[in-house]
Amino acid sequence: MTNVRVAVDIGGTFTDVCVLDETTNALHIAKVPSSRDPIDAALDGLDKAGIALSDVTLFAHGTTVATNALIERNLPHTAMVVTEGFRDVIEIGRSTKEDLWDAYRDNPPPYIRRRDRLPIAERTDSSGRVEKPIDVAEARTLAAKLRKRKYEAVAICFMNSFANMANEQALKAILEEELPGVAISTSAEVLPEIFEHDRFSTAVVNAVLHPVIGAYTLRLQERLKQGGYTSDVLLLHSGGGVMTPQGVGSQAARLASSGIAAGAIANRYIGNLCGFPNSIGFDMGGTSTDVSLVWDSQMLTTRDWHIEHGHPICFPSIDIKTIGAGGGSIAWIDEAGSLRNGPQSAGSIPGPACYGRGGENPTNTDANLVLGRLGGDLVGGNLDLDLARATAAIEQKIARPLGMDVKTAARAILNVANANTADAIRLVSIMRGYDPRDFALIAFGGAGPLHGVALATELSIPTVIVPPHPGVTSAMGCLLVDIQHDLLTTYLVDTAQADPQAIEAEFRLLEAEAHARLTKEGVAGKDIILKRTVDMRYSGQWRSLAVAVGTPFTSVQEAVDAFGAAHEREYNYRRAGAGIEIFRLNLTAVGLTPKAELARHVAVTTRPEPRAWRRVGFDDNSLETPIYWRDDLSSGTELPGPAVIQQLDSTTLVPPGATVTVDPWLNLAITV
């Protein structure tokens, strides 16, 4: 193949490679086990897909390198320089615990230990006036100490720097001079936003990741270059866009969960392709499920985001809810006699009982196998499933204690799993005022298509879409993104006093910055798209809502009206006559990149033949059910339930009463 685009999504267990042939728009996939060095896995995957690097025109990449470095605290020796008297902002945090009642469950420690947090005398007041400038002599003494301690990175975090970053910049200049080669992050450059804990925490994550990501991208780019790929690597960030390695400096923290956004992007793409601007992405893997929500073709974003409790990363991030429910989730009976499901997972080792690797606990995969919803193998025959072990596990651990037969117990296990998952989806969607009947459910991940229809039924969602390659749909998301920067500035003003011209001027400043960044990354002016939003709230309220505004900004009243409507939709009410204030101005700057497009297939009328028949247990009965291979299904195919559709990376369950249509892009559209 020549002229291909490649997306590599490096996960904990597997590295997925998704290849799009630009000439034919055909999609090829490869799945290889993740190795010690993620770069090896990426290149292995390309090898397996039969791709030469010299034929690659675009290489996009989601990676867990940064996530793992944070969780394992495998971080460079980093110092934090703070305003005297504020050494512990990142340790004090907001002082809450993730589990309120378990006094033996500790919060994860800060990314920089107390011994590495060094004070300096300086102060800026809340209005931005410098009360105490940096003393150059003190700064040089501090620099000497930092040098002696051999730090590789430094975060400079001063109080009120969001209002005036002069002191942070002054110290940065001195440290750059005194400590050549040391990566320096300042809090106001990383996140120019009020509230010291959010800003410092984000800056600290940025500081510790900068050398990690820098070294990684350098190595990756070097290896790719050796193989003949000469363009930039595009790195997926948590905001749902990509950035180039040049952008890493003040933005490394955005890669803290590179990859998590890929599934949401794929959700939006597939939804749009199938004519559903509103879609819920349901990405169920072995140990967990990621739920994403797209409304009117926009992905929901949040600033309330972290890898570990107490250490926020406040860049706008795709709002993804991860829940502990997957194929490997363990079913168990608690001491008071209730049937539970997860969050413990059998993982891949020992794995579900049916893997025959020593797992003795019944999992969702075992229940699916016992009911015949899954066949006797997984990953295209690479892994045989042991029905006897699955049956024994369910019999011993669930059926006997509850006085049920094995199949009833298997149904019970799956019903509990589906109900828990539906509750989680409810918490992210319905409660925000969205009606599930307005959505399509996009089911992917290895286990998503097995559970998709049951969930849709529970949530009254009429349509389920299963993309062509459910197991690598996330990776495909990396091929669908643009370069994106999210810029913001804290701007506090009562709407009654707000001056549209002043606001327009602030937006212009943000836009100039955005143009500069994108131009540096090689984006042409015609490919730049800028979107403005204003965060607003009722005066006295603590949470704000983002409202889209036009360019130029001319009318405060329009924004006020839009805010009222948004508040009513999201929270069921609005307050007539109450004061409204502006809190923050945001600019999303997008640099368009060429994107993948799935090939269209012409409809054929031949009806596929089942490859086999098998007895499958559905909710109310067991039926002889035709088993199809996904590759046998062509565009235009229509099948009534019951049916099971198997493929290399997933299995789709179509219960009686539902019907499947294969669309021109080979998605399965299931009418529930």
Binding site: A103, R115, F195, A336, L402, A412, A419, R426, R575, A578
Partner: protein, 659 residues
């Protein structure tokens, strides 16, 4: 492995599990709604709780992130509404109540309740409870520590209707709101809470539609039975017997010097836990009294800490028997002031930590720091418009050392671990107060083989103000955070004020309406947690690591832990353990420390005043309690404090030959 009890549900296991989760999920949805739309920053920072109750008012589910101090009170409030209105409860009604004498906590915790009807039949209640920042009364924030009766504490709201058959009762709402300092925010919070109860209604109706109303009603009962079964099973695995302890509130401002005992006797009998608080002190002349609701909350929250995985509902409450005579500090009745109920609540909780630590050593924990709350109110003179400002600020601190690990550092108080502390930059923007220091304090943790978590100091300067006052709401200035199993106490709470051009003076842990002026400096700190186990048994390497991080000073490493360190390079924070000197120092301390607790307290106080002993020496080595400002001895408090150390610490100390 625990033997499974008979299932005992009439619902099939799937329906049961699905509904059990759905009920909690509904309450969590209420919480999201409240948090996103509230006005009061106290509510925003998570001082709120929600519940779903059955038709009789029994709690079916509480939220995962709800505040401990509200646990075990929401069902009382719901029953109070039912008692008050009887047959006069209709679809479209919404109720408001904040009455601590009817099972509530204090006036600020105002609850909105909505009855849920199906086909004209009342099947459930949804309830949203939020701490409103101000309820009127004599001081901003409504905590006047000089109050002896409720009339200085703000507005009491017995059960009233704020919606009547779908019609908004604006008159009632305004009557409440206009008795407070921020009526707009009160109405805003009332709206937010009402909307939250409506979300629960919508969701319950959805479930009724799907499963049938009879199934839902059955599930209400069975999820309570389920929790009761789980707790009874755990209790029956504990040995039968009685255990007792005492904890103290610092003082009765209207009485003589001496700490105020709260006694807790736990009796485990089969699968039931009885808590007898007889012998606790009569009500005192301040707001630090607790009505029965707050006391019950302390008991069930203390217990819940040892069974963290069991869900919260009225099933738990049925396993507990409480005995408490009337008119004590833990059973105050109208009109005794109770807005400081949390002081008693936390003492009960910590007492229960100690009792259960003996029964379940794998979850043992020493005493935690005390909740504290500084209220500043006055006119902001920075601009021309001289607006009124209220700055309410609370801190985190250390929790007790645990069996096999150090205590949790800088964590919200056991009043409610979800209560977030506030960003300084937000406060500085809104109020004319600049924070100069906000950080962890070296040596604030109670020493132990497993030390307590660390506490904080926060201090600042008053900028341009007029008519500005401080009120401080704290405790454990004298009843200092204690250790167990040989662990040592941490440090006293209290606030220091330095008016411009004057000496700093210690105002203690409880006062109201103290005038403060532009240019005044002030600071206060929180205690670390109490230590667990003999500090002379702590691994010296751990002590060294603590010194590198400045959690412990070189000086106190020697005095509290007997670990002698050599400074190698201060720039690199490099230290080395002097093993020989450490062995000798540990032996010396072990040989002498019991005698220190017998030394004449007057002389100890004198040496404190002259600077020969510091604060930590006086408390940790000599068990002496003084007025920390003047250094004057407090003999009664000292007597009780030493008794307490002799019970909790001394019997577990190693001898000279064992260290």
């Amino acid at each position: 492995m625990t033997k499974l009890p008979a299932l005992g549900t009439t619902l099939d296991p799937v329906t049961f599990e699905v509904l059990r989760n759905a009920f909690v999920n509904i309450v969590d949805q209420m919480a999201e709604q409240v948090r996103r739309t509230c006005y009061s920053f106290v509510v925003y920072n998570r001082d709120f709780s929600n519940a779903l109750c059955d038709a009789e008012g029994n709690t079916v589910a509480q939220g995962n992130q709800d505040l401990a101090a509200h646990v075990g009170t929401l069902h009382y409030t719901c029953k109070a509404v039912i008692d008050e209105f009887g047959d006069d409860i209709h679809p479209g009604d919404v109720f408001l109540v904040n009455d601590p004498y009817a099972g509530g906590t204090h006036f600020n915790d105002t609850r909105v309740l909505l009855p849920i009807f199906v086909d004209g039949r009342l099947i459930a209640w949804s309830q949203a409870n939020g701490h409103w920042a101000d309820m009127g009364g004599s001081v901003p924030g409504s905590f006047d520590v000089s109050a002896r009766e409720m009339f200085k504490e703000g507005i009491r709201v017995p059960p009233v209707k704020i919606w009547r058959r779908g019609e908004y009762c604006g008159d009632v709402a305004r009557l409440v709101a206009k008795n407070t300092r921020d009526p707009d925010a009160i109405i805003g919070d009332m709206d937010a809470q009402t909307q939250a109860t409506r979300i629960a209604e919508r969701e319950i109706l959805r479930l009724c539609d799907k499963y049938g109303v009879e199934t839902i009603i059955t599930a209400f009962a069975e999820v309570q039975d389920y929790v009761e079964r789980a707790i009874r099973l755990r209790l029956s695995e504990l040995p039968d017997g009685s255990w007792e302890t005492v904890d103290f509130v610092d003082q009765d401002p209207a009485g003589q010097e001496g700490m105020i005992p709260i006694r807790v006797k736990l009796t485990i009998r089969g699968d039931e836990a009885e808590f007898d608080l007889s012998g606790s002190h009569p009500t005192i002349g301040s707001i630090y009294n607790c009505a029965f609701g707050g006391t019950f909350a302390g008991i069930v929250s203390g217990m819940k800490t040892f069974f963290p995985d069991v869900p919260l509902n009225a099933g738990l409450y049925r396993t507990v028997k409480v005995i408490v005579p009337d008119d004590t500090i833990v059973s105050a009745r109208w009109p005794v002031a109770v807005s400081g109920f949390v002081m008693g609540f936390e003492k009960i909780m910590n007492a229960i930590f100690e009792l259960f630590s003996a029964l379940m050593p794998e979850r043992a924990m020493a005493c935690a720091f005390n909740i504290e709350y500084l209220q500043t109110g006055g006119y902001d003179a920075r601009g021309d418009d001289r607006s009124y400002f209220m700055l309410y600020d609370w801190l985190s601190g250390g929790w007790g050392g645990r069996n096999g690990r150090d205590g949790l550092g800088v964590t919200a108080s056991c009043f409610g671990v979800g209560l977030m502390i506030q960003p300084v930059e937000g406060q500085e923007r809104l109020c004319p107060v600049r924070t100069d220091r906000f950080e962890i304090v070296t040596d604030s943790a109670g020493p132990g083989e497993w030390r307590g978590g660390v506490g904080l100091d926060k201090g600042g300067t008053i900028l341009d103000v007029e008519n500005c006052v401080f009120s401080y709401f704290c405790d454990r200035e004298r009843s200092i955070v204690w250790g167990i199993e040989g662990g040592l106490p941490a440090r006293p709470h209290g606030l220091w004020l330095e008016p411009p051009g004057e000496e700093a003076r210690f105002l203690g842990a409880v006062f109201s309406n103290v005038p403060v002026h532009t240019g005044a400096r002030f600071w206060r700190g929180t205690s670390g947690g109490g230590g667990y186990g003999d500090p002379l048994k702590r691994d010296p390497q751990r002590v060294l690591e603590d010194v590198v991080d400045d959690y412990v000073s070189v000086e106190r490493a020697r005095k509290d832990y007997g670990v002698v360190l050599k400074v190698i390079d201060e720039d690199l924070a490099e230290y080395e353990i002097d093993a020989t000197a450490t062995r000798a120092e540990r032996r010396r301390i072990a040989a002498q420390r019991k005698c220190w607790l017998e030394e004449d307290p007057q002389q100890v106080a004198e040496r404190f005043r002259t600077g020969q002993l510091d604060l930590y020496d006086v408390i940790r080595q000599y068990g002496v309690i003084c007025d920390w400002g003047t250094g004057e001895l407090l003999p009664n408090s000292t007597h009780a404090f030493r008794q307490m150390m002799k019970t909790r610490s001394v019997p577990h100390w190693a001898d000279e030959s064992d260290v």
